[in-house]
């Protein structure tokens, strides 16, 4: 049932090297795309595939590509966003580390589709060893004529440059990434103008996630319509999920978005159940910035339907009773985990990573962290919980970039679903210090397989 498209060959011996990758059928899509298809046909194919951006927002990739402005005489750029810094998300690292040529292949095809002669990979600075892997792959591709001048005799020139980030989460936001790539301070830009009109060096630019660009390869190989048949509804294709937390088998899994959340957590093929025979308490299903869900709402939607691992089902019920697919960082919390402490950890992260450009995010994230710290360490007041709610409400939607929203949502969801745990912390400060896992009665009523 489970179909792998991206990681199918990831564990073939020596797949990191060009010879093995080519032998396993690599770079077929470049041949097909450059020789038999035009740029418009590729964009059309990606549109047909229904591929949605894998970076978090889930915006249709083909649509994004078709927005790119094409003024005469102005170069266009494709930028690959490999600045994967969201806590809980490590799918791109896995993909780039084990099968780097897949990304290079996807980049060549996408660059051809968008007319980008200079394509950039902006990679997270902490992924230092992956830079070497990617650069080696680029060298190999260049040596074999897949990059450089006049690729396959089509007259299309393309170079891929790897640029390392300097350790800022905010540079994963596309406009901040562009600023950083230009050598400036990584502050997000105001939109409009969108990068598709004025991006890198004021030129039309498309910024896509690693996984999105890698997914272009199977789309070209099998055809967009064929790709769209995998998955369900508007969630087409396969998605990499990086599962972590209190589960038996943490790791990166490729799923085809038709399996249920319950199956994903408990089946041996994927997470293999909760570690140490504990019960499931809560889960952050899409990377640290999406709302946390308690076990009952995670496995079933508010309407009582089974929740599936796809864009629509995970966001069913909006933020009141749902969450988001996000970037696919699946963080599982068992009954021993404290939601307040978890929220504090996230708030501390966002406070540290706020760029400090716009006031609500700069001041609000720090304020939320301090209040959460008080609650966690037994100095909180009941009014602090309402205050937290009020602060997050005033940050959300009022900032330049989505980091403000990302900082507000986890706090909002934690209060919405686990308010009594916050109250318990305030009312029992001493006990909260001794056994720091809050209330366990949220743990799932479902039988844990032995």
């Amino acid at each position: 049932m489970n179909k792998k498209l991206l990681l199918e060959k990831a564990h073939v011996e020596g797949i990191r090297h060009y010879d093995v990758y080519r032998r396993e059928g690599g770079y077929r899509s470049v041949e097909k795309a450059l020789k038999t298809m035009g740029p418009e046909a590729i964009v059309e194919e990606v549109k047909k595939s229904g591929l949605r951006g894998r970076g978090g927002a889930g915006f249709p990739a083909g649509m994004k590509w078709s927005f790119i402005a094409k003024p005469e005489g102005v170069p266009r750029h494709l930028v690959c966003n490999a600045d994967e810094s969201e806590p809980g998300t490590f799918k791109d690292r896995y993909l780039m580390e084990f099968i780097p040529h897949l990304l290079i292949e996807g980049l060549i095809v996408s660059s051809f589709a968008l007319g980008s002669n200079d394509t950039y990979i902006y990679i997270r600075g902490e992924y230092a060893w992956i830079v070497d892997i990617l650069e080696q792959a680029i060298e190999e591709a260049k040596a074999n004529g897949w990059l450089g001048k006049n690729i396959l005799g089509t007259g299309f020139d393309c170079n891929i440059h790897v640029q390392r980030g300097a350790g800022a989460y905010i540079c994963g936001e596309e406009t901040a990434l562009i600023e950083s790539l230009e050598g400036k301070r990584g502050n997000p830009r105001l939109k409009p103008p969108f990068p598709a009109v004025k991006g890198l060096w004021e030129r039309p630019t498309v910024v896509n996630n690693v996984e999105t660009l890698a997914a272009v390869v199977p789309i070209i190989n099998m055809g967009g319509e064929e790709y769209a048949k995998i998955g369900v509804g508007r969630s087409t294709g396969t998605k990499l999920i990086s599962a972590c937390g209190n589960i038996n088998k943490p790791g990166v899994y490729e799923i085809d978005m038709t399996i249920s959340v319950e199956e994903f957590i408990y089946s041996d093929e994927y997470c293999g159940g909760i570690a140490n025979g504990k019960k499931l308490k809560a889960c952050i299903p899409g990377g640290s910035s999406v709302p946390i869900l308690p076990a009952n709402l995670l496995l079933k939607t508010a309407k009582g339907e089974t929740r599936y691992m796809n864009y629509e089902s995970l966001s069913d019920g909006g933020f009141a009773t749902g969450s988001m697919m996000g970037s696919g960082g699946f963080i599982v919390l068992d009954e021993d985990q404290c939601v307040v402490k978890n929220t504090l950890t996230l708030a501390r992260f966002y406070r540290h990573e706020s760029c400090g450009q716009c006031s609500p995010c700069r001041e609000g994230t720090g304020w939320m962290e301090k209040i959460l710290q008080n609650i966690e360490y037994g100095k909180g007041k009941l009014s602090d919980i309402d205050l937290l709610w009020d602060i997050q409400r005033r940050i959300e939607g009022n900032t330049i970039c989505p980091l403000g929203d990302a900082a507000a949502w986890p706090v909002a969801a934690a209060i919405r679903h686990f308010r009594d745990e916050f109250e318990w912390h305030v009312k029992n400060p001493e006990e909260a210090q001794k056994r720091n896992f809050g209330l366990a009665h949220y743990a799932d009523p479902i039988h844990v397989p032995a």
């Binding site: 800022a168 905010i170 301070r185 105001l190 406070r351 540290h352 990573e353 706020s354 760029c355 400090g356 450009q357 716009c358 006031s359 609500p360 700069r362 001041e363 609000g364 994230t365 720090g366 304020w367 301090k370 205050l387 409400r393 005033r394 939607g397 009022n398 900032t399 330049i400």
Partner: protein
């Protein structure tokens, strides 16, 4: 680009050229409709969008696409579309968000207005009077920094800074070398030179003028006087610096010149000079020419009545409407009693309107 776009802000419609921002359109209407702006400065390229005090609600995108915008937008950087409808003071959502922004701006601000040189002409002070609350919900220690001297004429007090980036843009665009910027990020971000270098060039004094709060102050004026005790006077001199406009405001008390600044308009931004230059002044005019004989005085500055700077030379004053006049068919009352054209109390037969002077008790005793 000669098209005129119709835009409605708080139910008042104006026509503006294409490419105008919502904030500029609102400033054309003026008054309370114009959103406050802490970081936007029309003379500086790239400024704006950061402080979020100018957020407005766009309830109708344009004539072609009438969908409202999903989020509040920063009016300083959003251009108008034809038929756009904007809500500023008429939107409770905007008022709530703005109150939130003001609260956030103030949580790390020291509120040391009594000893701050900017008090009286501080935009943050005005903003918190209008939108702030009297109490704070912030119970933690405020962020503090040490005072730093940027050269011998300017002092930086980062504790008061709201990180509007105006001074960074000014130094970037006015002076030849980029000398200062923002270090660190988040709530510990700070304006700084790298590393504690002097700011030393002809136009760097303008960062004091653009600072909306008291973070950058003039060391030749610090603690010498309060702005509301001094009187602003327009003056000019022939400045040898070709980029300096030479038109300034002197802040005087008696015959003494306490401070020299660029001329500012009602939005706190520098004015275009009469010789077509942008209005920036050089350090020599600002810091060294502190004697009345250095300047040709033009007369008292006409100020807008929005701050405590008061000298009786206001612009934009509206006299109360003469409703009496309208009600009484063009006749002016002479006494309050005279509202009724005859006195009902005393002698109804006496028509007070016939008197060409105030009525007197003797008039009733005839």
């Amino acid at each position: 680009m000669s098209d005129l776009f119709k835009v409605t802000i708080d139910n008042i419609t104006v026509e503006v050229p294409a490419g105008t921002t919502i904030l500029q359109a609102a400033r054309q209407i003026g008054g309370d409709v114009a959103p406050p702006a802490m970081c936007y400065y029309s003379k500086l390229q790239g400024s704006g969008g950061k402080c979020r005090t100018c957020l407005v609600e766009v309830s109708k995108g344009s004539e072609k696409d009438p969908r409202p915008m999903p989020k509040l937008v920063a009016s300083c950087r959003t251009t108008v579309m034809d038929g756009m409808e904007v809500k500023n003071i008429t939107s409770p959502k905007v008022q709530d968000a703005r109150a939130g922004v003001v609260e956030m701006l103030l949580i790390n601000h020291p509120l040391d207005c009594p000893i701050c040189d900017q008090a009286g002409e501080c935009h943050l002070q005005d903003l918190s009077y209008e939108h702030g609350k009297s109490g704070t919900r912030y119970e933690f220690q405020r962020r503090t920094f040490k005072k730093v001297d940027l050269g011998d004429k300017i002092q930086l007090h980062m504790t008061r800074c709201i990180l509007c980036y105006r001074c960074v843009f000014t130094a970037d665009q006015l002076t030849k070398e980029r000398e200062h910027g923002v270090l660190d990020r988040g709530d510990h971000a700070q304006i700084a030179t790298f590393i504690q270098k002097n700011l030393n060039n002809d136009f760097i004094g303008n960062v004091i003028d653009v600072c909306p709060v008291g973070a950058l102050t003039d060391k030749t004026f610090r603690f010498k006087n309060r702005v509301w005790f001094t009187k602003p006077v327009d003056a000019h001199r022939k400045c040898s610096n070709p980029d300096c406009c030479g038109e300034v405001q002197l802040w005087m008390r008696g015959d003494e010149v306490f401070r020299v600044t660029a001329r500012k308009d009602e939005w706190g931004e520098i004015k275009e000079a009469s010789n077509g230059k942008t209005g920036w002044i050089c350090n020599e005019c600002r810091f060294d020419k502190k004697h009345i004989t250095d300047w040709v005085i033009e007369g008292p500055t006409k100020v807008n009545r929005h701050s405590v700077i008061s000298q009786g030379h206001y612009v934009g004053l509206e006299k109360p409407k003469e409703t009496f006049n309208a009600v009484m068919n063009g006749r002016y009352p002479k006494l309050l009693m005279d509202i009724h054209s005859v006195s009902e109390v005393n002698k109804p037969e006496i028509d007070l309107s016939l008197l060409n002077r105030p009525a007197h008790s003797t008039d009733f005793n005839q």
